[in-house]
């Protein structure tokens, strides 16, 4: 990163306006060859918008971009690909109906006599994915694979496309440690080849592990650029939030759980989840830990009735209940914040307000609309309580940044005042500030006597709020950790144990 190397890409004065919001206000970004550059900022700071402007997915309203000293102005992502800028956008952006190989090579398929050669394409795909430790059949449609695999394919595609710059927008949000390691290995190789890499994430550990410099955005403006070797986490966090993050007391939650609320006996579904028993008491947070694909999401969906169980029974306050649909569950005052907020969570074109009251209204029934004043009061209260950043309650929720969407979804369920709340990856894509708030929120809810089931891939977080952790492996419960036993190390051990067995 010596001062005299010429930047690969330098953007100056990039601005982007949305109706009612200034997403980017004269942002500068400079990338040098062979550097990994972190782009940091709170939810809604404008990170995704910035890279969309850089790559031509959005038309920028002002500013100029220079690539290798030459002015470029990509008007489509295709154009930026031609310039050698490969990008992974925030939500997985691949085509589920095409095969893995076709996704990898879309737009630059190997040709033979002018025709696409499927055979060569698949051979190449196998080779490329092998480099990420992924051994799959590349002719299968992408939709048959889990989100994690899709994410890796998206990364592989972007890497293949990037001759000069690689941009990764929260690529690790749905990856496990091992995959993250694999990704970092690839990034280091690319760095050696002299590529400039933009890395967006909310995991500061990862930032300090892999990145050289960081540019921090706040409210659409650059508030600073730092050499990471010479700065600390607190410094960066301070820059991001504009305030200090109170260090939280790491007291273990006292064991004051109430009486048993729910009991599942031998509940399961063939081909999806092995039968398991689980009891949850009031004022208890049960954490679900496991590797990708271990069945955490399945457990959550099964308990919520989103995918009905085909065996076992459920008891609520010693009464047997039927859980065949989300509606049943909601009637019994359950709530579920799903993992994939884009497809299962938000209702994109409805306003933020309507999204917040949706579940409450659905429970109230078709013919008893919530009155307007109450709706506004509720929505405003939650926007304030969760610090959701928005231009207006009337704006469609899909215009919110990813993290703010997540908070709005939390608000939806809190508004129903549930007895039992299931959170599937509640902090995915959420910034450090909000992360702390959500953890505090979970503890607050528990103290009020709510029962929670939280699935998460972030072990530190699980350790922080769980009163009990259930470890899953291969869609089966393998062990349960209580009280003092709950620690990152023990969870990792419990997960890994299964791994060793499997290999043996």
């Amino acid at each position: 990163m010596s001062e005299d190397t010429r930047p690969v890409l330098s953007a100056t004065g990039i601005s982007k306006f949305f109706p009612g919001a200034i997403a980017l206000d004269s942002v500068d970004l400079t990338l040098y060859p062979g550097e990994v550059h972190a782009l940091l900022g709170e939810n809604g700071a404008g990170k995704s918008t910035l890279i969309k402007c850089l790559t031509g997915a959005y038309r920028r309203d002002a500013g100029s971009i220079q690539l290798d000293g030459e002015e470029i102005s990509p008007t489509s992502t295709q154009e930026s690909q031609v310039h050698g800028i490969g990008t992974v956008y925030q939500e997985v952006n691949l085509l589920p109906n095409l095969s893995v190989a076709e996704n990898l090579f879309l737009g630059r398929q190997p040709l033979r006599f002018g025709f696409v050669s499927q055979r060569r394409m698949q051979r190449e795909a196998r080779r490329i994915l092998g480099g990420y430790g992924l051994r799959i059949h590349p002719a299968e449609p992408l939709s048959t694979f889990s989100v994690a695999v899709q994410q890796v394919v998206a990364i592989a595609r972007a890497v293949e496309l990037s001759g000069k710059v690689l941009i990764l927008d929260e690529p690790t949000a749905s990856l496990d440690r091992d995959e993250v390691e694999m990704l970092f290995k690839v990034i280091r190789q690319l760095k050696e080849r002299g590529l400039a890499i933009v890395f967006i994430t909310h995991f500061l550990d990862q930032v300090f592990e892999i990145c050289d410099r960081a540019t921090v955005l706040r409210n659409g403006r650059v508030v600073g650029t730092r050499e990471l070797a010479h700065s600390s986490q607190t410094d960066v966090v301070h820059l991001m939030l504009g305030r200090q993050l109170e260090s939280r007391v790491q007291d273990r939650a006292p064991q004051t759980a109430g009486k048993t609320l729910l009991e599942f006996k031998g509940i399961g579904r063939k081909g999806m989840l092995e039968p398991f028993d689980l009891a949850i008491r009031e004022g208890e947070v049960v954490g679900l830990a496991g590797l990708l694909g271990s069945g955490r999401t399945e457990t959550a969906n099964l308990i919520f009735g989103a995918v009905p169980a085909d065996q076992g029974e459920a008891w609520l306050r010693d009464q047997k209940i039927a859980l065949t649909s989300p509606r049943d569950a909601i009637r019994h005052r359950f709530g579920l914040c799903p993992e994939d907020r884009k497809t299962d969570g938000i209702v994109g074109d409805l306003s933020v307000r309507e999204n917040i009251i949706l579940a409450l209204q659905a429970r109230q029934g078709w013919f008893r609309p919530l009155n307007k004043a109450k709706v506004n009061e509720l929505a405003e209260a939650y926007v304030k309580a969760l610090d959701i950043r928005l231009a207006s309650l009337d704006m469609p929720i899909r215009f919110l940044s990813g993290g703010n969407q997540q908070k709005a979804l939390l608000a939806r369920w809190l508004a129903t005042n549930p007895d039992f709340l299931i959170l599937d990856e509640p902090t995915r894509g959420i910034d450090v500030g909000a992360h702390a708030e959500i953890i505090a929120l979970i503890e607050g809810l528990r103290e009020k006597g709510m029962a929670l089931l939280v699935a998460s891939s972030e072990l530190e977080e699980l350790v922080a709020y769980s009163t009990r952790v259930v470890v899953l492996r291969d869609r089966r419960q393998v062990c349960e950790l209580h009280g003092e036993d709950i620690s990152t190390r023990n969870i990792v051990a419990a997960i890994a144990q299964g791994h060793l067995e499997e290999v043996a």
Partner: protein, 354 residues
Amino acid sequence: MTHGLQATLRRVAPQLMILAAVLLLNVIVFPDFFRIEFQNGRLFGNLVDVFNRGAPTALLCIGMTLVIATRGIDLSVGAVMAIAGATAASLVADGSGWVTALLGALAVGVLCGLWNGVLVAVLRIQPIVATLVLMVAGRGIAQLITEGTILTFVNPGLIHLGAGTVLGVPTPILIWIGLGALITLGVRRTALGMLVEAIGINESSSRLAGINSRVLLICVYLVTGFCAALAGVIVAADIKGADANNAGLWLELDAILAVVIGGNSLLGGRFSIVASLIGALIIQSVNSVILLSGLPPEFNLVIKALIIIAILVIQSPTVKHALYILRASAESAGVDTPAASASAPLAKSTETAR
């Protein structure tokens, strides 16, 4: 309340403007267009005709708007009209009273809606294919009832629904305005409107939020069947006979067109029944231009196509956006009002980026 009215007016403003333009076109080809007389116990005039003849399309587009809001489409409404008309006619022919006939026809329409709804919501067949089945078979069923003939009837009660008047106003006008108002209030004064929009935008999310999307979807198709049946009865009553071969033929396309001209997206979501109804009036006004112009019928379709294309282009998101920018920059070029200067940087910079 007034706030809601204002919002509605803002929503339908483009449609109203287009309607005004097409009506103006009518006046150009026929200067007496707006003259309304009271003649022979009924209002009599071209404008009355537009409202009266627009009734079937208007009725269809009430239901169609809801179906389209759920990201569906119903191609079978024309056929359902034929079935309902045939049912009503054959019931009065068998000696039933007009009330029985009407109820019977409506019941049959609802049944057709149920069939479509089950195909879409339970069997998960894509709406366009699911309703294609009834579109093809339905006319056959209607002909089965009438045995291919025009089933003429003389029951005055039934005829009154299509050709009669109430206080001088043709009954169909009252029926479609009444039903339109009823259903608009029905969906907007309850939570139904929002829930329908929610399942149209993202069904999976809606289901997880506890909306009974399956039943709601079926209900929407039931409403469409009901509206189609009512339209069928009116059309049959109008000519005092059930014409299974021609009643409602291709009218589903007009209804869909009306919904789109009403500014509703075929991709589901936000909807406005009032705007669709104005869309129906626009289509009928276009038909009226064609009839009044006196041009040879060979040109009917070309004229209709050109006017519709013009309307759609004006309404397209791209043109709307361009107009918005144009207006904003025109404002900023003018007097330096605070509002104008506030919107100026936005408009200008968007332009330079092009």
